[in-house]
Amino acid sequence: MLKLIGRKIDSFSKNGAISNALYASAILFFLFFVFLPAVFILIHGLNIRFDESVVNALATSFQIALVSTSLSVLFGVPLAWLISRCSGIRKEILDSLVDMPLIMPTSALGFSIYLFWGSQYGLNLLEKGFWLIVALHTAFIFPYVVRTVSAAFEELDRVYETAGRSLGANMFTVFRTISLPLVKSSVIIGAILAFTRSLSETGATMMVAGLALTAPAQVLAYKNAGDMQGAISTSVILIVCAVAFLFLSKYLAGRMSFSFRGFSPKVEARLCCLSRIKDSAVLLFFFLIILLPSFFFFIFLFQMNGLPAQGQMAIIFDSLFLSFGVAAAVTIVNLFFGFCMAMLIGRNKFGLGKVFETMNEVVLVVPTSALGLSLALYWAGFNFPEVLVIALAHLSFTYPYIVTPVSAAVSQLDKNLEQAAATLGASPFRILRTITMPIILPSVLAGLVMAFMRSISETGATLAVAKTATPVPVLIVNLVKANNLSEAAVACAILFAISFILLIIMRRGVKHA
């Protein structure tokens, strides 16, 4: 039966109008459900207010993003180098450990970090406030930097290193003058990604913020206090900054060069001997500052006596059900439209590839609480049920997570393969089914899981549109705020377990594909 349908579509797809209709629907979907809702708030751009609390919140956000991004780059680049240069079991372990904080929903992460640094169950070193937020943000943006940079180091042909050494350069000089400059654009991209993630994180930050309100948290505070003008002003400035930052970084990545005027091979040769110390310092940072705090709630979990009461568990499961329902629905819808959009971008159809790619990136960097507020305003006239509005918000910010990897895979696909299939008599849909899809499947899977996990763990956008509904991350934030730590720990553990299983499925799938 399926085969029959497949064949019907195959013969149908020879008609160019069908594919054009698909592309058109993808474009309309993107514009009206993803892009416009995300930036709708900018129409209030002329009517914003700069008062002290808005400026203070923005300043706090930027300071935190700057400090935590700097820390991540400082320790992340050497760690990425270390990972790309070791092999076997050590590499596997380090590689998986780096991903761990990434799969942990940020609200769970925030809870764990708070327990470790700020509560009497852990070190009790940091008060709620600036430095606790920095500790949190460093933990969850660190993997972005390490992942991006280590991928670049992996891809870098080792022959450049060998060539440099055959010309008499020691390891350290080779790293400084050859390897690092060659991956500089990845370092910049990783840093930008980390910076924008830090700027937009809301839920976990609110948990550990105390009085130091960041901009996304301020948006929600204004909204809850009924001060819409304040919320809109902060959102607009936040969006403008994030987008400006995106374009600035694109500009810089192409132009900036690390110059290396000073050569002092003898001094650097001596530095080479210190590499052991450097490696240990980097690993120590990773284990003590990133990994241990991120997973500290497990230790707390074992100290607990018994599970929370039945009624509490029911609330937790209701929230889980809501979260996973929304995530599944949103991912399926985005898979279809996102895939068409990815083909359009990857193949540069109608010459619009670049335009949509950039618009996608804009959606990606818009801080989610600002996005949520914008979206609430956009759909305000329709009187949709609350769950639908939450789903629409999630639709918008998870969309780029599918489009970005898939369009990259499509554009890297060797065109000759598809042309070869065509010369063998395959129709366009058949080529898609039998050639294109199997090759780009790992990227599709990666995009799917990323979008799903982002939806599950998102707090800011949900809080901006929701009134009473509480998906898990929001529940965790509420529980921690109400000091119900054991309930929060259980919710975190379940959320983490599910995310972890998903990650394993994805890795299996990618390997299998």
Partner: protein, 371 residues
């Protein structure tokens, strides 16, 4: 001065893959040596163990009297040209070439001077010195790679398949430049290639390798006309291989192949076991004479031209006899035969080489069916 010596060098990769097996090799000072062999024969591993990229599993490597087996790459002072150039993509041509001198902490003026001089030597147009490698053609990139290797001012140069990525014509031009330059500067060069033509046209000494071992070391003439084994005879150039029954009476040796008996008394039988009665007779195609009329001596056979290919300086014939096929190459000018012409093929017994019949199947050794 800088003689390169390898003593019992072995290289075993994880999974027990033997890339080199107890290789001994001496490369004399100012010699241009070419390591030649099919892919996977160990020639690149050998080069890389000299460069320090693959430390050998056992054995020692010397340059001059210095044991460099355990030295890291950067302390070996060998200039190397890589297969795909390995020019640093983020640096200009000039900066690529001056990288080596900079590492030796020469003053900037001196560094620039060396870079310019080396680029000129490598015939790189000076007005393009500020270009990035990606803006250059393959041939130009290879000239930069050469200049960069020379700029390290090392007496030993290593070339890892330097011409394999280039167009045939540009490759030919570059390889003669390579040799001229090495000779002019009095350097020692070790060059890896799988192309026997490249080896022939550049080498003083060819080292033929197979299966991680050295098969034969000699001048191009030696490896071509006096191959030490069937493998070398087959790998270098084209040859006819005939399976023969050997009979001896007094001083006379004759071999039975192509359906008749040939006099092989003056053939080179030094590689044939004493009194062996089976052998492989190897004759180079250009040592076989094709005539319209019956020759005066007895070493001939009748045949018919089955394929004629004009190759420019040579014409290659495939000639079918009743008992098998014979390949012949004659000069490309003057009178020639056409397809289907009946001909007589003959050879001088001194031009035939006799080898022991290989213990395992013939096809394995020479990769071709013989008669």
């Amino acid at each position: 001065m800088p003689e390169v010596r390898l003593k019992g060098v072995s290289k075993v990769f994880p999974g027990n893959v033997v890339a080199l097996h107890k290789v001994d090799l001496t490369v004399k000072d100012r010699d241009y040596v070419v390591l030649l062999g099919p892919s996977g024969c160990g020639k690149t591993s050998l080069l890389k163990s000299i460069a320090g990229i693959y430390p050998p599993s056992s054995g020692r490597v010397f340059i001059g009297n210095k044991d460099i087996t355990c030295l890291p790459i950067e302390e070996r002072n060998v200039g190397m040209m890589f297969q795909n150039y390995a020019l640093f993509p983020h640096l200009t041509v000039e900066k690529n070439v001056s990288y080596g001198p900079q590492m030796r902490e020469l003053p900037p003026e001196k560094t620039r001077e060396i870079a310019r001089a080396m680029l000129t030597l490598a015939k790189f147009p000076s007005d393009r010195a500020k270009a990035k490698p990606s803006e250059l053609s393959g041939g130009m990139q290879q000239r930069v790679a050469l200049a960069r290797a020379l700029a390290s001012q090392s007496p030993v140069l290593l070339f890892d398949e330097p011409l394999s990525a280039l167009d045939a014509k540009i490759g030919e031009e570059l390889r003669s430049d390579l040799r001229k330059l090495v000779k002019k500067l009095g350097l020692t060069a070790i060059h890896v290639t799988h192309s026997q033509e490249e080896a022939m046209s550049t080498a003083d000494t060819i080292v033929v390798m197979n299966g991680g071992e050295i098969m034969q070391t000699g001048t191009p003439e030696e490896v071509y006309f006096k191959p030490i084994s069937l493998f070398v005879a087959d790998f270098i150039g084209e040859a006819n291989f005939f399976e023969a029954e050997i009979t001896r009476s007094g001083k006379k040796t004759s071999g039975h192949f192509l359906g008749k008996s040939f006099d092989l008394s003056s053939s080179d039988s030094s590689r044939l076991t004493h009194k062996a009665n089976r052998a492989v007779v190897v004759i180079r195609p250009e040592k076989i004479v094709v005539t319209k009329n019956k020759p005066f001596h007895k070493n001939f056979v009748k045949g018919r031209i089955s394929m004629r290919r004009f190759l420019g300086e040579k014409i290659r014939y495939e000639i079918a006899s009743d008992f098998g096929e014979i390949i012949v190459k004659r000069m490309g000018f003057g009178k020639s035969f056409r397809n289907g012409d009946p001909v007589f093929i003959s050879f001088d017994s001194a031009d035939a080489l006799l080898f022991d019949f290989p213990a395992d199947h013939m096809e394995k050794i020479v990769g071709r069916k013989t008669t």
